[in-house]
Symmetry: C2
Subunit: 128 residues, 2 copies
DNA sequence: ATTAAAATGAAACCCATTTCTATTGTGCTT
DNA sequence: AAGCACAATAGAAATGGGTTTCATTTTAAT
């Protein structure tokens, strides 16, 4: 599968941001610097492709607005999301992968995926 | 805080189900057995109270529809959700609680809460 | 019984996402 | 170069869960 023009623009934005961004954030940025950038529908479609390609991960923070970010191809990670400043710490390793074997043994359950996000107050905000 | 009539009806339904149910599920059930059961708004409000009382937990499976279930007061747990039959295994202990101390040490991040759900194929569905 | 506070239901509203339809762009064939 | 088939796109409209608003009904307190 090929990267369409829309996908490339979305990738550009994601490369320049490096924070979790919603589809609308991304679309807004694109439209800021170029009035005739792809429409919102195309952004959604591009994100869908990029996610299934493993170049981007979708993150669900439970607030009804999915966020996206670049990841190392095929990998994923989780976050410590600060409820005060909304910044997040991007964890370097998945805490769940190592549990999969145990879960399969104990419950006969084949793990295919998971959601994990941790909320709280970050170091900076605690200091204030 | 007192349990209103609406809350009690919602609790009744949740006691009788013992599976993750959406607000609309719950409302539907209530309306099935009683045409003039509380409206959907009241169901949402009741769930909100019950959650903040710690009697019910809200579960986010990332599909935009929150589910609810009774829990031991003040406790919470996570699930292995089967993508084939949609049933879930209710885990007996939280896998994250024990990591909190480490996270605080390593990142200076005070953990307040988290989302964790695991998806895959359950034992029964694998057998088929 | 009177009155204030809490709970309720119907409808309006919100907003991210999806669907639908018409249009445009791209590559390939002749 | 012109024609054709198909993928990609835009934009509007529909969807759908959830929340807000507000008038009305219940409940509790005096
Ligand atoms: Mn990240
Ligand atoms: Mn459960
Ligand atoms: Zn993970
Ligand atoms: Zn937990």
């Amino acid at each position: 599968m090929r990267l369409t023009k829309g996908c490339k623009k979305v990738l550009d934005v994601l490369e320049s941001i490096h924070e979790l961004s919603s589809a609308q954030d991304i679309h807004g940025r694109m439209r800021n610097e170029d009035d005739k950038a792809p429409g919102l529908t195309t952004v959604y479609r591009s994100l869908e492709s990029l996610v299934s390609e493993g170049l981007v991960q979708a993150v669900d923070l439970g607030d009804g607005e999915r966020r996206y970010e670049l990841v190392k191809p095929g990998e994923h990670h989780h976050h410590l999301v600060c409820e005060s400043c909304r910044q997040s710490v991007h964890l370097d390793q998945c805490l769940i992968a190592e549990l999969e074997e145990g879960i399969r043994h104990k419950y006969g359950f084949q793990v295919k995926g998971h959601i994990l996000e941790i909320f709280g107050i970050c170091k900076v905000c605690t200091a204030k």
